[in-house]
């Protein structure tokens, strides 16, 4: 009775929503909120020092760090957005899980993580401070804080829109209840709480959505039945092949050439995201030892490559089985469903009371894990890389924790502000991918050159990063002002927006790389003794001699590589 009244108070009329929840579904959602808050309250007693609050005491096992690493990336928009992209582009969307996972996560675990971990820094901007100096730290810290808040706000708004469309929930209710819950548990338990809840959310996402691919494949008659039904629907084989259609820009629904996919996505965007976005790196830094820190991204890679089972496959099943055609966002017409609704529609297709509540809880969990990741990373970067060096001279460790807690709350309110800001300028949501290419792609070059080349100088780090970021923003603006420049940037008149994102990231990476190298050759480098623990070749790694092969990160990274090759071969 109470749950039914609660549901009625926050929802719109049944006609305005896609799915109706039964009291059992509402009970499942309420229990979820109680559990995540309970975990935050329980863990507060363990988050007393800055090391505990910001880095979870560096005590996490490889499994916990790895699952949390992936969960921070597995937001609800990630789930629904890529299911929608699959409906639109077919299995090509799986590249964002496969080529975007294998080379970059293996490289992070084997090459970059040792330097992040051994340098004992608190953040990626903190590493840049040690490697290049104050100016580069300031530039990357401020751009990261700005990007994190904007992304968090955009995610929050988009999630509220989804909750309104799918469940009929009031937008303000969704924004405030979800964000205040995340704020409460991250403020209380810091990174401990964020990580615990992310691992919990990882399980919920899987068990919540897994019903769709299982029942969908039964209904479709297995993979061959699915391919046949898609062929009947779209009269083309382009939707079920990964690489064979990428020989030309016009030969596939995404309008991308294989070079853009391999170099732009696999080589720059994915590499940049996984290896320099502190949102995910922070989870691996919380590992209990170097071996666990190196294994965390490799464990995440295995699960990342399995995520298409609950994201890409439901999108393909929607394309094959839904009795009506989904349309792009903003298409006028009564009763039409958009691409973005494909995952909730498939949940509603197969899940009755109880299972439906679990599926919706999975979407909410996805949103909250993404937001907790943003908040904990923002609090750390703001406290260590902006507040402490530039705004005040914080003296004690206890003061840092207090500042971190207030920063978490500040981050929530800034995110809520950003969410309401986005409601005024709805097209900003389209720029999320662009935001990544502005800040992440050049940062990747700066970090990579800094880690691998001892000759890279402090001035080169700053000017390279600045040049990469400015050039990326300039390319984006140029195409907005004159759309014909898209053909120049993406190297083909047949290129589409997705290709623009991939190639812009590639060019901004190259510009950053070249400027860093040229300026380095013209300026004075740091002496070797200041670079120990920061650069390959000057850093002594603990020997793995005597360690059984199956315990070595390189063994498991090779396994990811084999898994990757098999998947490419299967869906070529």
């Amino acid at each position: 009775m109470v749950l039914a009244l609660f549901a009625a108070s926050v929802t719109l009329q049944a006609a305005d929503r896609l799915i109706s929840l039964a009291p059992a579904d509402m009970l499942i959602i309420v229990i979820y909120f109680a559990m995540v808050l309970g975990i935050g309250v329980y863990l507060k007693r363990y988050a007393n020092t800055s090391n505990e609050f910001f880095l979870a005491g560096r005590e996490m096992s490889a499994w916990v760090a790895g699952l949390s690493f992936l969960s921070a990336n597995l937001g609800a928009l990630e789930l629904m957005g890529w299911a929608a992209a699959t409906y639109q582009y077919g299995i090509l969307a799986a590249h964002f899980y496969w080529i975007a996972a294998f080379p970059s996560l293996a490289c992070l675990g084997l090459v970059m993580m040792p330097l992040y971990y051994i340098s004992k820094t608190h953040s990626v901007p903190g590493y840049l401070h040690l490697r290049y100096g104050e100016a580069t730290r300031a530039l990357s810290g401020i751009s990261f804080a700005f990007m994190t808040i904007l992304m968090s706000g955009i995610n929050m708004y988009a999630m509220a829109i989804v909750m309104k469309v799918v469940l009929g929930w009031n937008i303000h209710f969704s924004i405030w209840v979800s964000s205040l819950t995340v704020a409460a548990y991250v403020t209380l338990g810091g990174l401990y709480s964020a990580i615990f809840n992310e691992v919990l959310q990882f399980f919920l996402i899987w068990v919540g959505v897994l019903t769709v691919p299982i029942l969908g494949m039964i209904e479709a008659g297995g993979w061959s039945g699915l391919v046949m039904k898609i062929h009947e629907r779209v009269h083309s084989d382009e939707y079920v092949h990964l690489w064979s259609t990428l020989g030309t820009f016009s030969g596939n629904p995404m309008g991308v050439h294989w070079t853009g996919m391999a170099l732009g996505l696999g080589g720059v965007i994915a590499f940049g995201y996984w290896s320099t976005d502190f949102l995910v790196i922070q989870r691996a830094m919380a590992a209990k030892d170097l071996r666990s820190a190196r294994l965390a991204p490799i464990i995440a890679a295995y699960f990342k490559m399995m995520v298409p089972l609950i994201v890409i496959l439901p999108g393909l099943l929607g394309l094959a089985l839904l009795p009506y055609k989904l349309v792009p966002e903003g298409t006028p017409g009564e009763g039409l469903h958009t691409y973005n609704e494909v995952l909730p529609l498939m949940l509603a297709r197969y899940c009755g009371p109880g299972l439906l509540g679990l599926g919706i809880t999975a979407l909410i969990a996805g949103f909250m894990s993404g937001m907790a990741g943003n908040l904990s990373a923002f609090a750390t970067v703001w406290t260590y890389d902006i507040y402490r060096p530039y705004l005040t001279k914080v003296k004690s460790d206890a003061q840092l924790v207090v500042v971190g807690r207030w920063c978490t709350i500040l981050g929530v309110f800034l995110s809520i502000g950003a969410a309401y800001f986005v409601t005024q300028f709805k097209s900003i949501m389209d720029y999320m991918q662009a935001l990544v290419s502005f800040f992440i792609a050049p940062l990747c070059a700066t970090v990579l050159v800094g880690m691998l080349w001892k000759r890279a100088t402090p001035k080169a780090g700053f000017w390279g990063l600045l040049a990469g970021t400015v050039s990326s923003i300039a390319m984006f603006t140029l195409v907005k002002v004159n759309h014909s420049y898209l053909a120049v940037i993406a190297l083909s008149p047949n290129a589409k927006e997705m290709a623009e994102n991939l190639y812009r990231a590639l060019w901004s990476w190259l510009i950053c790389f070249l400027v860093t190298v040229i300026v380095s050759l013209c300026t004075a480098p740091k002496p070797d003794d200041q670079l120990r623990g920061l650069v390959w070749g000057l850093t002594d790694l603990p020997s793995e001699r005597g360690m059984p092969l199956y315990k070595r990160p390189v063994f498991w990274a090779a396994g990811v590589g084999i898994f990757f090759v098999i998947l490419q071969w299967m869906f070529w």
Binding site: A22, A24, G57, E59, F196, Y350, C351, P353, L355, L358
Partner: protein, 73 residues
Amino acid sequence: MSKQAHMVPVWFFIGVLLAIYGVIIFAVAVADFRHPSAVVLSQYHPDLFGGILLLLIGGFYTFWFWPGRRKKE
């Protein structure tokens, strides 16, 4: 000894939550067994099997990671 050694492991929380969900979904499935909801393939009773599976996984995790159990061993 590290603080984490005194903590209730995250796997225990996962076990408890999944077990509770298993009980709820199983109970709903049993109550609606003769009149399943009008979803596609409801004749296979996915809620019944899903509930049992969640209960088994959740129960195992709850038992295996029960606070203090592993220390006693």
